[in-house]
Amino acid sequence: MKNGIDDFYPISWPQEGVAGATGAWRLKKPVVDKAKCTNCEICWVFCPEAVINREDITIDYEFCKGCGICAEECPRGAIEMVLED
């Protein structure tokens, strides 16, 4: 039983980190240049993993897979993809 539902139903629940610490998948990481950022929230809209904080445009690197969509979509060019060391 989970959430009052029998186990035999093939259902799963949304949960942070359900696919593991996917931050380890990154080859490059997005770095936000605060001087250029206007808090337009476009990156927050496009991030497929919902790892960008809407309030202060910070990225949760524990789960960011490094797909680079935020950097591609940023209208100010404020996000750079930097090779992981």
């Binding site: 696919a19 380890a24 998948w25 990154r26 080859l27 897979k65 490094g66 797909c67 090779l83």
Partner: protein, 177 residues
């Protein structure tokens, strides 16, 4: 039969490298099998592949659990526990600039990343580490350098193949333990 299990990240060319190794084994008169494990097919996701080399027909299709050689394309994979479950006799091959001691195992290393960068085998900031690593692994499993390099030249005819073969040769000569 010799069994290798290779761990890396999507985009590092693990599957391509395993296929090149199988071709080199085939060219050396052996039978080979590559068995990629398909999980999430995305750049950056952890990937693994098995390579089996034998002088007899292979009828084993299961995943590699206790390989003779565990190949890690990044030191980071050691931290992720990819070496858990291997047998005491299993040797480890690392892409690393220097040797890393792993208790109870013989560790080979080759600086595949350094070799790729130093020789300009880089696209979009990402080094092709699979080419020097391929060279090193060919030497490890006893494939002659000439055979190893011909496989690369046949795969990429022309200038690209020549360049890749030269880098593979550096990898071949740089394997240490």
């Amino acid at each position: 039969m010799l069994e290798l299990r290779i761990h890396g990240y999507g985009g590092q060319g693990v599957v391509t490298m395993a296929e090149l190794l199988a071709l080199a084994a085939l060219e050396s008169g052996l039978v080979a099998q590559t068995l990629p494990f398909f999980g999430v097919e995305r750049r950056g996701a952890p990937v693994k592949a098995a390579l089996r080399v034998s002088d007899k027909p292979i009828h084993i299709y299961s995943q590699s659990v206790e390989p003779d050689f565990l190949v890690l394309m990044s030191e980071k994979l050691l931290d992720m526990g990819m070496n858990v479950g291997i047998k005491p006799e299993s040797n480890i091959v690392l892409n690393a600039p220097a040797n890393v001691a792993v208790l109870g195992h013989l560790v080979y290393f080759v600086d595949a990343t350094g070799i790729a960068i130093a020789n300009g085998l880089v696209t979009d900031g990402v080094p092709y580490i699979n080419i020097p690593m391929y060279g090193a692994l060919c030497r490890l499993i006893g494939i002659e350098a000439e055979v190893a390099l011909n496989v690369i030249k046949n795969r990429w005819p022309g200038k690209v193949g020549e360049k890749n073969a030269a880098v593979a040769k550096i990898g071949y000569d740089s394997l240490k333990n």
